[in-house]
Symmetry: C2
Subunit: 498 residues, 2 copies
């Protein structure tokens, strides 16, 4: 058990946070880089997390009145050209399909052939193509609202890809809605922001701040971008979800018009909102430690692993049978409305230590070791992933099984509490330019401050310190902008970010 004296992940967070992140992903078997530059292979354990994210959000989207549909992967180039801001935002990083077949050369290699008259873009986001489709669907106020979501892959040609955080291909959901009035569209934008906040809080155990982006950080083409922002353990911010009020920008560029009840013809109001596989990056960086991944039970692919400890002089089948009894009992219990997800790890080519460490690094919430002595005593040896690796507890099978729901909820709550404490401990209120510069030259963290500067001043601060406004909120009080000394009710959170 010598391994327990040094952490399982090398380097540690302290030693090299970005490299620690990559190593956690590797050790947990979540994903790996693929032969296609910047694209990930999401492995079964990572995919299990994404499946759970999808399941919970999908139910919530439906409860809030949305339906799913599916729109094409390809966007004709001319569609991207339609919205000026959109072009600026996405033209620099998109995959362009120019040919529709490969022709065999004499040496057996293949060359692109069949050039398209108009190139296609692999969707980086779908406002333009969905807008063109909605323009056909919307004729009368009776056709509104349109409340549709799609689960899809998108491509943005990131020059510095990082697994889950920025990948060339990523998976997401994108909601696209159309409304008769501005008020209704804003209400929708805010409603979906609240869904994201709720989900981050309740499922990912990630405390997030909500607010609006500054003009510099807005989605290309949006009137307002609302966001949820989380603090990672290195004090940097992660934008974890966005909800855009698009005003009439896209309805004008796509010509989404309707005849209102009074007979007048109006442009509609649209929104879009999305979260992506980036949430998994946020999950990793919020909770994990130097022994690897830690998963909130509500989003973990599995809640409990049972590790049979075999001994030479004891019949292994007896141990397995006892493990199966425990498994069966656990499965009668529920957590978050569904049976406990439990598995016995019967791999015999690995020893007990290797198996146990494997599951620690995968972040499984609860490990249960069962050896001959436990079996005799009718007990189990239980380790919680949110506690130290050595802090294991012997419990009678019945006590363990009866308290499993409570244990999982306690892990869930504990992870949230820790993350909130970290954020609180690294959030400072700053009111002067000197303090602000001094803070960010030495620290990472969230700076809360009043802000009345211009986009240019914001840009200048970014140039100096590599920090940006993560979000803006309106305060009931008036204060003085730390930079311009102007009176304002607008508060900003400044931070370095992913």
């Amino acid at each position: 058990m010598a391994k327990q004296f040094k952490p399982a992940i090398s380097p540690t967070r302290e030693e090299n946070y970005p490299e620690w992140y990559q190593q956690v992903i590797k050790a947990a078997d979540l994903a790996e880089n693929s032969p296609a530059r910047g694209c990930m292979v999401i492995k079964p354990w990572g995919w299990g997390i994404w499946e759970n994210i999808q399941k919970v959000l999908d139910i919530k989207f439906k409860e809030t009145g949305h339906e799913n549909a599916y729109f094409p992967l390809f966007i004709p180039k001319s569609f991207i050209e339609k919205e000026a801001e959109h072009v600026k935002g996405f033209a620099k990083e998109c995959a362009v399909v120019t040919h529709h077949r490969l022709e065999q050369n004499e040496d057996g290699t293949l060359s692109p052939a069949g050039e398209l008259s108009e190139p296609y873009i692999v969707r980086p986001t779908s406002e333009t193509i969905i807008g063109a489709v909605y323009a056909k669907w919307v004729n009368s106020y009776n056709d509104l609202p349109i409340l549709i979501n799609q689960w899809a892959n998108v491509v943005r040609w990131e020059m510095r890809p990082r697994m889950f955080l920025r990948t060339v291909e990523f998976l997401w959901q994108e909601g696209h809605t159309v409304h008769a009035t501005k008020e209704e569209a804003i209400e929708e934008t805010e409603k979906m922001l609240e869904v994201y906040r709720w989900f981050a809080h309740e499922y990912l155990a990630i405390p997030v701040l909500t607010g609006k982006k500054s003009a510099n950080e807005r989605f290309p083409g949006a009137v307002e971008t609302y966001c949820i922002e989380a603090m990672m353990q290195d004090g940097k911010a992660l934008q974890a979800g966005t909800s855009h009020f698009l005003g009439q920008n896209f309805s004008k560029s796509s010509d989404i018009k309707f005849t209102d009840s009074d007979g007048s013809i109006k442009h509609a109001w649209t929104t879009s909102w999305g979260v992506s596989t980036r949430l998994i990056g946020g999950l990793i960086m919020t909770h994990s430690d130097d022994d690897g991944l830690i998963l909130p039970p509500k989003i973990a692919p599995q809640h409990v692993v049972i590790l049979p400890i075999l001994r030479k002089n004891v019949d292994k089948q007896e141990i397995y049978n006892f493990c199966q009894e425990v498994e069966t009992k656990l499965k009668t219990k529920t957590f978050d409305g569904a049976p406990i997800k439990v598995k016995i790890d019967q791999r015999e080519h690995l020893n007990a230590g290797e198996k146990s460490w494997g599951w620690i690094k995968k972040g499984i919430p609860v490990r249960v070791e069962i050896g001959p002595r436990d079996m005799e005593a009718g007990s189990v040896f239980v380790g919680r992933r949110d506690k130290g690796v050595k802090e294991k507890e012997s419990l009678s099978v019945d006590d363990f099984v009866d308290s499993i729901e409570e244990t999982l909820q306690s892990i869930q709550d504990n992870l949230y509490k820790r993350a909130l404490e970290l954020r609180n401990s690294r959030t400072v209120i700053i009111n002067s330019k000197e303090e602000f510069y001094a803070y960010f030259k030495k620290n990472t963290g969230f700076v809360e401050t009043y802000w009345a500067g211009t986009a240019e001043e914001e840009e200048l601060i970014k140039k100096h310190l590599n920090v940006t406004i993560r979000l803006l909120t309106e305060s009931d009080d008036t204060g003085e902008c730390f930079y311009t000394q102007k009176k304002t009710t607008t508060k900003a959170i400044y931070a370095k970010s992913y």
Copy 2:
């Protein structure tokens, strides 16, 4: 109600089957062509069917030991070049990404820029890229089997796209497994074929034949392609799912090797298997009639629609309340293990006839009309989609609610039975060349016959009659090949196909 005297879909199946198919899709609001050539927009009602297909199959894949994962959308060109047969099969119809950004021209339009050193292919299927990844994962026999599935979009540049049947982009699942032995790989191939047969039968209510493809019709690179084949109402065959035994072809081209328990190094054995959104095309063409779509209840996005019939002199809220009571009662009942899916159609800008016809065309299994007289009598007026549009029945609310599970099951069984009867009535046994040619010059249908011809002879028959071997099976008996008069135990089903 004059509409009831002519069918809702024009043209009818009799008049023009291919056009009828397009009109059913339109009338049911399943999908539409998109601005990207050959790519569909799958609308919420169509997507709801695909969601149900995914849900049922996903559970079954997991029950049979598979996990989900996700592999990249893009395949480097050199990967496609690795497997010679594969090149022949897919090079002619693939989307090629050659650039990674767009540059703005002086006139504001955009041109492809940032040429890639190696073009990427948008995956037409993923054997080559998954093979390259598996080669890294597989080292020892302890790493086997690998049993993974992915839900994904794929692109094949079809020159004559038809919604659901052949689209440039389509959605599917592709299972990719790796095994230590040939026997195990064949067992997997057959197991997944049986999953597809079961699913087609139990959920889609589509009777399918199972067998192997001839060499001409095999998946490019496979040793054997197993398939399920269904008969559409026009007597043509639809390949509805395939399961490929890939032998060591891909493990050799991708170098998937492992050290076996005896220390020897071996190439692994692989399989792949998939079904796609094409199943929805099969569903439409198997069950629908001249009034539109008919959906088997087990796969329908909704089981029951309640249509309130409003009258000027009756308070509409009273009717709505009564409808809600019926809805609440229905939701306490289950079908296929989940609560009955029911919705009240409260759209008031449409009249009762328009609403009712809308739902008939969408193929909802059960329509319930509730007007003032029904309410007074505590009864409902029920129409089953598998029966004639006018065959409606008045039932007490309790009788209706109590029998809903039975009603839905009866519709499900009835649709299967009808489809089976159709197939039986259009399947003929033919033993001579003359009969064979005479049959296919006048008819469409399945011809069952002994077959011992060559690939060239098969090709010749295809050229003459546009019919192909849909599948081959081994018989216990010996018979004479209709074409070559050779003795053989191999039987073939010949048909025209989609």
